[in-house]
Symmetry: C2
Subunit: 327 residues, 2 copies
């Protein structure tokens, strides 16, 4: 039958990456309690998640300690404190950190993989930073890490710029090239175009394609499954969709979609109940109207974040007019 | 260019239907204030919306007056009280009501179109009620109304049943056949399959296809635009996604997607600010975890609604276990 449901099978190659601590940490300067980080880690283990991104490996000069929690820097001593006894082979879970071009002291701070709990370094960069990103990927790979290239804010650059970045990343040892919809601006048709472009550029390199979506227009989950259907083999999500602004693709929805029986939804439900829902008392995230509007206008959510923290936060019309007039 | 953005053009045939009062009213037994109904009406006018569904034309024997507000019944006197001076030609807005098979005294209550502010009667039915639906459509058309056939809970029946319904609707005067994802269970691949099935069955009849999505898994907007891309020419949405349980496709997202300049987002933003956000103090709707779970399991949301109204409402794991064990 040609209409045989394709969604009842699965690709074992498809890996799920939890970035609750790394990306979610932008909501609170990574000032998570150790208890919360451990709870997310335990959930990743029991839910069958493949990668857990535990933070940024960014500079403490730019992000002073105290003001920013340890998962903004991922110093090896903090990694060892929480994950020193992590057994990658036995658990099937790999730990990752992200290094931002322009914000990371990667030359000094990256240690050989066999001296770190980390298995993978993901390099995030804007198009104009691609040369540093290429160096970062080369260095991390040389130290033994899996690597990925995460071109941010792709909705904000031209196709020629995208092509140039892809050409630069192609010869690097990066294992993955990730579609990153930083502004939550992409529709599925654009995901399709980008997926095909990324996949074509990386054909015959062995690189796989990843997807990292934001939820400004309630499309993070839809766009993530779209990329998966097309062939993306690395899907990012966060518990409860936790993340700055509108947040991310919710893990609980993603695991509900996946058909690989190794993924378990119940531990995620438990984490949400015990740790994530209580955070809503002090932190707000989700596809609120101001994020709908910045997503619609292809803008960084910072204007919406600022608006929602202001005394004017109920004055949606004022915000709409400001964003429209500023276009 | 083959990659020329298709989303910057539009189909003038595509009509938007606001069902805030009709479907949103299931959240509060249609006990809306006249002020709120008028505000939605004014918003539909200024936002360029094509149809406003003002309620159900259902029986006051089943839904006693007082316990249920006037928009559960849409008596002609209530319609005239609020919309007696509505000018369809001048405003470009048509008013609709929905009649449920098995719940409507349609034989007695439908008046000729030229005696009513209504322009369209949408007939909602489960597959087993298709014979009454066919009679209802015939009667409404005979009285001069536009009509549509809204087969509910399509995720819960077999393809053979769907085919049988489509065969029965095909010879009726229904102008539209609507894909209704009552349980918020469908993925885009299933929307594709259903769209093609509906469109093929209705080919050469002049009928168009509609889409009515629920947001249990944050897919209402994504599935609505998917159906639009495929060719659906009637898209349902509600202001702020207002609706029972997880709610509906949010009008503010839908209008952001559409490229027809007649649609204006600002009036919707204003309505949300002044009327819909304040309702969140007494009513809760949205893609909360219990609705994710019922959507995932292809269940009516009533179990999740009951759970969220109970003392156990924070015990997500208990709810998850109950739904899974009951499958």
């Amino acid at each position: 039958m040609s209409e045989m449901a394709p969604w009842i099978t699965y690709r074992p190659e498809l890996k799920v990456l939890d970035c609750t601590i790394r990306d979610g940490g932008l909501i609170n300067n990574h000032l998570f309690t150790d208890d919360f980080v451990r709870a997310v880690y335990q959930t990743c283990l029991t839910a069958g998640i493949d990668y857990m991104e535990v933070g940024y490996k960014n500079s403490s000069r730019l992000f002073p300690k105290g003001e920013y929690g340890p998962w903004r820097h991922c110093d090896e001593e903090d990694l060892n404190r929480l994950f020193g006894d992590h057994d990658e082979e036995k658990t099937g879970l790999k730990l990752t950190a992200m290094a931002d071009a322009g914000k990371s002291d990667w030359k000094e701070k990256l240690v050989p993989r066999d001296e770190s709990p980390l298995a993978m370094i993901r390099v995030a960069f804007y198009a104009y930073q691609v040369s540093e990103a290429v160096e970062m990927i080369a260095r991390a790979a040389e130290l033994g890490y899996e690597t990925s290239a995460n071109l941010m804010a792709v909705s904000n650059i031209s196709e020629t710029e995208v092509d140039t970045v892809l050409e630069a990343i192609k010869p690097t040892p990066a294992g993955a090239m990730v579609i990153v919809d930083s502004f939550g601006h992409l529709y599925r048709e654009q995901i399709d175009i980008l997926y095909r472009k990324y996949a074509e550029a990386m054909a015959d390199t062995g690189k796989y394609i990843g997807i990292h979506a934001h939820n400004n227009r309630q499309l993070a989950f839809a766009n993530t499954i779209e990329a998966i259907i097309l062939g993306a083999n690395l899907a990012d999500a966060t518990m409860g969709g936790l993340g700055r602004g509108a947040g991310n693709c919710p893990m609980e929805l993603l695991l509900g979609f996946l058909r690989n029986p190794k993924f378990k939804l119940r531990p995620v439900v438990q984490l949400l109940q015990e740790h994530v829902e209580p955070m809503r008392e002090t932190e707000a995230w989700g596809a609120l109207l101001p994020y709908n509007i910045t997503g619609h206008m292809n803008r960084h959510p910072r204007a919406a974040i600022k608006f929602l923290a202001s005394d004017d936060k109920a004055n949606f019309v004022k915000f709409f007019d400001e964003i429209v007039s500023d276009a």
